[in-house]
Amino acid sequence: MDEPLTRTLISQTQLNRPLGRLLYRTVLALTVVGFTVVFLGPLYWLVTGGLKSTAEVIQNPPTLFPAELHPETYATAWRQLGMSRLLFNTLYYAFGALAFQLVFDVAAAYALSKLRPVLGNLILGMMLATLMIPAAVLIVPQYLTVLDLPLLHVNLVDTPWAIWLPTVANAFNIFLLKRFFDSIPEDLMAAAAIDGATPTRALWSIVLPMSRPILGVVSIFAVVNVWKDFLWPMLVQPEPANQTLNIGIKSLSMGVPQNVIIAALAIASVPTVVFFLIFQRNIMSGLTSGGLKG
């Protein structure tokens, strides 16, 4: 229904037989119900849990529907956990990281793909080599580096730079962007150069307009990565006023009633769910096209 029918494991004729049709209907119904329960059920619990009273939310057995609605729990959670601050911080870090990645990674990938400087391949190789290093291994030296940046001797902890700048060092972005730029015909670049376009002008007027799909993928993952990150923001933003949603909720959740925590979790999930529903096509195609076959 959603996609043009191609032949899969089970043929259409097989499904058109009465028994086949019955089996198919059963499997379809089971799958739809099962998936809804497994994947939407917890979200339902999240939203309704936030509407329950403090006593009801830890009552045994749990109730499927809230006995009485307490929408004010959401207001309490918003106030008590300082959600507006956490939400603002998270958005600030996420979109800042996005801006830095778009500027620096696009420029770097463009240089490596189209301007081809001396040592370009060595630089590319060194960047791609970092993909082999598991992120968790570098967390300690990275933290110490941010604490006292070599040569400059500045401490980036508790500044947004500690989140923004390390996200630029993303070899996967460079790889995706470079591969896309490589597919832009060299003739086009040569024509622009003959017309007197500078490299910056060619990037702006030719390469970027043609690269919208890949820029979309890189952008979405830039935002999502910051939004989902946990250990790094916990280390580099110790000040409560600078914390992200993930860390803020975690550290403030002690001693707060369960229904207030659940309401806070629901609030924290809403933006991502909305974001996902808007961009789901780009996210999923980006995942499968850029994700592996890269």
């Binding site: 970092t130 030296p141 999923m284």
Partner: protein, 309 residues
């Protein structure tokens, strides 16, 4: 950049034209390196330098602000720490369980989704939804479900007249509970990648197999699996590397250690050494050991992906 200027000076231009060309070449290189500068600085400060530092720190110790070389002392210290062995055991157990769930379940789900003719987009969105949730939301929600007294899971088991479980509170079930939560949170990505691989299988192969009299299972065995084998093996390796770095789930679900240290993972131990004991040397050494272990898998991954191309 030094290299460029040297190259420019070394070859003395003989004609005007040659000098112009060389000038342009130098300028082009300068522009290109200018474009690279931001990324180069970020890679340098936040990846390349920490990589070197990771190795150096593994063989150093800092005491009262004085850093000295200690050879293999850090590794020695780790090997004598019973938590080191437990952390590795736990991590391997987590990886094994996460693969049984996180590898088999998504493949099965992908095959199922690929056969369905209806509600495909809806189901695909559902599977991927948890991947997008902030981890703190999914994990704390599961913690609430796992609560032995008022949690949803025990109450479902109770209603079905099945034995209830202590979930995160018992050393026997804590890690399994972590794996279940982690699978729910992460299986969407693998499912979608498998689904894309399945959609790439040419329909004629199934038709030919069917004409040859192959039943459903033989078609799965002789068409589906061979056709997706490369993607399967790539994802398997990626998942091993990713799951062995597990941190957030146990950290949020059990506080990291869990009952009797049953959920202490290697990365959690790195975190403890570094940020609770301020022993950066041992933390780096542990990171280095982990790097060596994972490098094996990464190397395999690279070999497989070369084949895929």
């Amino acid at each position: 950049m030094a290299v460029i200027s040297v190259a420019g000076k070394a070859a003395r231009p003989t004609t005007h034209e040659g000098r112009d060309r060389r000038c342009r070449k130098v300028r082009q290189n300068l522009t290109a390196h200018g474009f690279l500068l931001g990324a180069l600085l970020c890679f340098g400060f936040f990846t390349w330098y920490p990589m070197v530092r990771e190795v150096v720190m593994s063989f150093q110790k800092t005491k009262r602000g004085r850093t000295s070389w200690v050879g293999l002392d850090n590794i020695d210290q780790l090997l004598q720490d019973p938590e080191f062995w437990q952390a590795w055991r736990n991590t391997l157990l987590f990886t094994l369980l996460a693969l049984v769930f996180g590898f088999a379940v998504p493949f099965f789900v992908a095959v199922l989704l690929n056969e369905l003719r209806h509600a495909k987009s809806y189901l695909r969105i559902l599977v991927y939804l948890p991947v997008m949730m902030p981890p703190v939301a999914s994990v704390l929600l599961f913690k609430y479900f796992y609560d032995p007294d008022f949690g949803l899971f025990n109450s479902i088991l109770h209603t079905l007249h099945l034995p209830t479980s202590a979930w995160l509170n018992s050393p026997d079930t804590a890690m399994v509970s972590v794996v279940i939560a982690s699978t729910w949170m992460n299986m969407g990505g693998a499912t979608l990648i498998y689904l894309a691989a399945l959609q790439g299988i040419p329909g004629e192969l199934y038709e030919a197999a069917e004409l040859d009299g192959a039943g459903l299972w033989r078609r799965v065995w002789h068409v589906t699996i061979p056709q997706t084998r490369l993607i399967l093996s790539l994802l398997l390796l990626l998942q091993v590397v990713a799951t062995m770095q597990v941190f957030v789930e146990p950290f949020l679900l059990t506080g990291g250690n869990g009952p009797q240290g049953s959920t202490t993972t290697v990365v959690y131990l790195v975190y403890q050494y570094a940020f609770n004991f301020n022993n950066y040397g041992a933390a780096s050494a542990l990171g280095l050991i982990m790097l060596v272990v994972l490098a094996g898998f990464s190397a395999l991954y690279v070999r497989q992906s070369r084949k895929a191309d």
